[in-house]
């Protein structure tokens, strides 16, 4: 068999096969065709060689670079945010190390992507559609990670790190998360950090940021974000085609930590203010006043009367700032974002100190007093009747009756006594005198004292409040009769009622002006900014300078006397609270009627604003208890607790703690 078949087939007795027997020759035709095949083969190999040459020899370097970049991912390294301290250097907001779960959309699997996100969402308790939405949003920018959750728990961390293979494109990254050593304290002031929003990315202040970066979104965090933020660093990481890291991280640029911000807030006083606020609410609830069962919120502002440094600013109800830490859980955020849900919990996200608007009530009377004195509507010692009610007879002869809160008085009093007693009819008379003028001097002065406009504190958004004027009425109302400015409008404004509204911060600022002799301060919380090694980096002066108000010292003196008498005269509205206080305190109660549509009647909002020490005021305190009844009932005791903390007064020095049933 091995020795060839040619001879063998001819050796058998088979009929001759014409196809085989005929000798097969390399005909010219076959030779031509073989030559063509050979040429094709040669051509094919020439093409392959040329292409190979072009790729490897001519542009090899370029492809080498591309291949090297192919497997390198540049990762932004989050800079630790600056720390927020109080005026004594205590850390209000710090950082702790957390583990963040991030997804690189470019490395996610094409098939089974949603199933993977679903599994991940289940592990981390983040809704999968939310993750998918954010991943889709990042489709045009697949190299920037999507943060699924920051600060995962230990159990979640271990679970995921053991199963990295099951989650291609997911990486566990070290991250800094905000830490609040004082818990919920000063939550409204401090604000929170969140992912930069799309509208923000378009703004100049946020240039250089990319989606997923964290910026301050409220309060101090937002106001001083430019100091706190720092600059992210860059790391290089080799990844395989599934996005799993291979090898070591190469640092390209070290992250610059943010600078620390020091606030004017005093943590002790802040703590006292928040406790006092709860105390005031509790007093109100325990009292038997109508509607006080509904006492459920309030605000306290404590400020340095001389320069406007806010020492404490409390608002209740409050929230736990930790709900914002990392990737917020939408369910826990609901009361802060969703209006319906917020209403049920009485708007915990609202900073009542600067965005809550209330009628000022009797705490507005010093404004009326100063305006009347400065406009020469009354002399300081002109005695006006203090009676159970005040009747105003209009031009058409119809009498209008305005009640005094105290139906048992019938005497003529001067301005300091009117302030001490908070006599309404005295101020009604001033209101009528104002009404008779074409101009609106009371409103002018109120405006000069900073009402009806934001105070300019760094935090926000602030509510401007409202000081109604005849012009405002004309513009605001549609109805014919409502458009008219009536005597009652002037009369009600004198005692801080009617359409007027103020914020606690505006009132505190005004009382600070009385206390410091006519300088209108700008409330602020910013004290200093230091780099991480503790060196101040802001050129001084940084504090806003108070504005000198053109109000006479004698007029201020009259009002100050009235406020001192209000806390020390036998008939003073908060004498029961402050007469035995070791430091001389002057201040005014307020009981502002606010319409409740729920109960279809007016509820009293309790106010107290004042300052101390009386001869050289340092601190001004304004307290507001929503539905707290009379100012002396709940607001004054709350304010006293703040003052006690400021002046280091021990509880046994405070004397009798009882509320006074006065306005």
């Amino acid at each position: 068999m091995a020795s060839g078949g040619n001879g063998r087939s001819s050796g058998r007795f088979l009929p001759p096969d014409p196809r085989v027997v005929e000798p097969y020759r390399l005909t010219p035709k076959l030779a031509l065709r073989l030559a063509i095949l050979g040429a094709i083969t040669l051509g094919v190999f020439v093409v392959l060689f040329l292409r190979l040459w072009a790729l490897q020899v001519l542009s090899g370097d370029q492809y080498l670079r591309a291949a090297q970049n192919n497997q390198l991912r540049t990762i932004r390294v989050e800079a630790p945010r600056g720390v927020i301290r109080d005026r004594k250097g205590r850390i209000l907001v710090g950082n702790t190390a957390g583990i963040a779960v991030k997804l690189w959309p470019a490395d996610l699997p094409e098939k089974g992507r949603y199933q993977m996100l679903k599994r991940l969402g289940k592990v981390l308790e983040v809704p999968a559609p939310q993750i998918a939405r954010e991943v889709d949003k990042r489709a045009h920018d697949p190299l920037n990670p999507v943060v699924v959750k920051e600060n995962v728990s230990r159990a979640e961390f271990f679970y995921l790190s053991e199963r990295q293979d099951e989650f291609p494109g997911m990486r566990l990254v070290k991250s800094n998360v905000r830490d609040y050593p004082y818990g919920t304290m000063a939550a409204h002031v401090l604000g929170h950090v969140g992912e930069v929003t799309e509208p923000q990315l378009k703004q100049r202040a946020y240039s250089g940021l990319v989606a997923g970066d964290k910026v301050g979104q409220a309060g101090v965090e937002a106001a001083f974000d430019r100091y706190l933020r720092g600059a992210p660093g860059l790391d290089r990481l080799r990844v395989d085609s599934l996005g799993q890291p291979r090898g070591d991280i190469l640092p390209l640029k070290v992250a610059t930590p943010g600078n620390d911000v020091e606030l004017t807030i005093d943590a002790d006083l802040q703590f006292a203010a928040e406790r006092a606020l709860q105390h005031g609410i509790q007093i109100a609830r325990n009292s038997e006043c109508y509607g006080c069962w509904n006492a459920n919120g309030g605000a306290i502002v404590a400020m340095d009367a001389r320069n406007g440094e806010v020492l404490a600013m409390a608002s209740s109800p409050t929230f736990d700032p930790r709900v914002f830490v990392g990737k917020p859980n939408p369910w826990r955020l609901k009361p802060l974002l969703d209006s319906k849900s917020a209403e049920r919990r009485n708007f915990p996200g609202l900073d009542r100190a600067l965005a809550g608007v209330y009628p000022a009530g009797s705490t507005f009377k010093p404004v009326t007093a100063l305006a009347a004195l400065e406009d020469y509507r009354v002399s300081p010692y002109e005695a006006l009747p203090c009676t159970p009610s005040y009747t105003y007879v209009g031009e058409n002869g119809v009498p209008y009756l305005f009640k005094n809160w105290n139906p048992y008085v019938n005497t003529a009093i001067t301005m300091p006594i009117a302030l001490a007693w908070s006599c309404d009819t005295y101020f009604y008379e001033l209101g009528v005198r104002f009404y008779k003028l074409r101009s609106s001097p009371l409103q002018q002065w109120a405006k000069t004292f900073g009402f009806g406009a934001p105070t300019g504190i760094e935090l926000g958004p602030e509510a401007p409040g409202l000081i109604p004027t005849p012009e405002w009425r004309r513009r605001y109302f549609k109805d014919g009769i409502e458009k008219l400015w009536k005597p009652g409008d002037s009369i009600e404004l004198t005692i801080g009622q009617g359409e007027m509204t103020v914020t606690p911060l505006q009132l505190a600022r005004f009382y600070a002006m009385i206390a410091n002799g006519g300088r209108l301060v700008t409330p602020h919380v910013f004290k200093d900014v230091t780099n991480p090694s503790g060196v101040s980096i802001v050129p001084r002066p940084t504090q806003p300078t108070p504005k000198k108000i053109d109000v006479s010292a004698s007029a201020l003196q009259v009002v100050r006397e009235g406020l001192f008498r209000a806390t020390h005269d036998p008939d003073g509205t908060s004498t029961a609270i402050f007469s035995s206080f070791p430091v001389e305190i002057a201040g005014k109660t307020g009981t502002a009627e606010k319409w409740s549509s729920e109960y279809n009647r007016y509820f009293d909002q309790a106010w107290w604003c004042g300052y101390g020490p009386n001869d050289a005021p340092e601190i001004v305190v304004c307290a507001l208890i929503e539905n707290g009844g009379h100012g002396g009932t709940s607001a004054a005791p709350a304010a006293r607790e703040v003052l006690a903390s400021y002046f280091h007064v021990r509880p046994d020095e405070v004397g009798v703690v009882s509320s006074s049933e006065t306005d």
Binding site: M1, S9, R19, Y24, L37, T41, L55, N70
Partner: protein, 392 residues
């Protein structure tokens, strides 16, 4: 004594005849073809060792050992086949053809599916890809048909019959689906008609129809709403034309492949530093994209050595055609050689972005037993044809 003498004489005669036969066989054996194929296989195993080093964690030699075993099996098969008179194939071409159809039909009920395609039959722990062996069987079978009708090649009937004979197995492969291999069948068909001496007119019409059908399947019918191809197949074919169509999708493989080849440069990045391969950017780097992987690791020099070895094998193959002693041998050899050349071109061209992406393995190199063994058997057939070729 006489018996003993006779027995001894007979034995010596047989020994002498064997010795003479072996001598004649050795003389008529194409040692250059043999040497270049051995070099190709050995070089291929060497390349696979580098390519698949990280593919099976813990056992870097997994594919090398398998591939060496297949090479040994294929080598024995090649030597065995080179002893078989090709005339047997001519006589029994119908049976060979029937076996190829049977094997391809068996895939439909018995085949195992992998990566969306049903191509393999499992025999014990070994999987076997009938479409690979089918290539050789169909060429040997159809060459017999053409040799029978050598005098009537000018007739349209013969040409159409040939086309029909190839179309049936090609279609069976196409529906697996495995476009690449069915294209190889087509290439072998054209080459065999060409070598057999079909008329230029007929060849021209065939080429025109091929081009027209290609355009129809890829562009015209889908735009009319009729999808002959699976979407991924069309994407891969059009991605070759329209490279930037979808960087993460169909053309992703080709882009990564070009990147890998280019990054290899002149000297290659070495086994350790070939990141495109080692970090799995290069898909299917042990099979379809093996060329890209080896070009990244070994550079222009390493890849050029491989291409030159292919050129050598193809050249020796074409030379075998010229020595064929009968039309059957010439046609069969032409089909085998052209199919091999076609596979090399389409596979290497695909990795360099000058041919459409079809799942054709790189002959003698890609990991996979069926392909390697079949190619070695085909070389064995070439050797047999050469050994029984005309006296020179």
């Amino acid at each position: 004594m006489a018996v003993d003498y006779a027995g001894a004489r007979r034995r010596t005669t047989r020994v002498r005849r064997l010795e003479e036969g072996a001598e004649a066989f050795a003389r008529r054996f194409d040692w250059i073809l043999f040497g270049s194929v051995v070099a190709l296989v050995a070089y291929g195993i060497h390349l696979v060792a580098g390519i698949t080093r990280d593919d099976v964690p813990g056992s870097p030699d997994y594919y090398v050992i398998r591939q060496a075993i297949y090479a040994a099996v294929g080598g024995v098969g090649m030597l065995g086949v080179s002893l078989i008179d090709p005339d047997y194939y001519r006589r029994y071409w119908r049976q060979l053809y029937a076996v190829s159809l049977l094997l391809l039909l068996l895939v439909i009920p018995l085949g195992t599916e992998a990566r969306g395609s049903q191509r393999w039959i499992g025999i014990g722990s070994v999987t076997f890809q009938p479409s690979e062996l089918g290539k050789l069987l169909v060429v040997l079978g159809v060459a017999g048909f053409l040799a029978e009708r050598a005098r009537r090649l000018g007739e349209v009937k013969t040409v159409l019959g040939t086309i029909g004979l190839v179309a049936v197995p090609a279609l069976l492969v196409f529906i697996q689906p495995d476009i690449g291999t069915s294209l190889v069948y087509g290439a072998a068909l054209v080459a065999m008609l060409f070598i057999a001496g079909a008329r230029w007119l007929h060849l021209g019409v065939i080429l025109f129809i091929v081009a027209f059908t290609g355009a129809l399947v890829v562009w015209l019918l889908p735009s009319a709403g009729v999808d002959v191809l699976e979407p991924y197949q069309r994407d891969r074919l059009t991605a070759f034309v329209n490279r930037t169509h979808d960087p993460q999708g169909a053309s992703y493989n080709v882009q990564q492949s070009i990147l890998a080849i280019g990054a290899g440069g002149v000297r290659g990045r070495g086994v350790e530093n070939a990141t495109q391969t080692n970090l799995d950017y290069l898909p299917e780097h042990a099979t379809d994209f093996a060329f890209a992987s080896l070009a990244e690791q070994r550079g222009f020099i390493g890849a050029a050595i491989l291409l030159l070895l292919y050129l050598l094998v193809v050249w020796r193959g074409l030379r075998v055609v010229t020595y064929a002693s009968d039309p059957y041998s010439a046609i069969a050899a032409g089909g085998i050689v052209f199919a091999l050349m076609f596979q090399v071109f389409v596979n290497v061209g695909m990795t360099m972005g000058i041919a459409p992406v079809t799942g054709i393995p790189l002959p003698f190199v890609s990991v996979g037993g069926s392909s390697l063994v079949t190619n070695l058997l085909a070389v064995g057939v070439l050797q047999a044809i050469h050994a029984r070729g005309r006296r020179r």
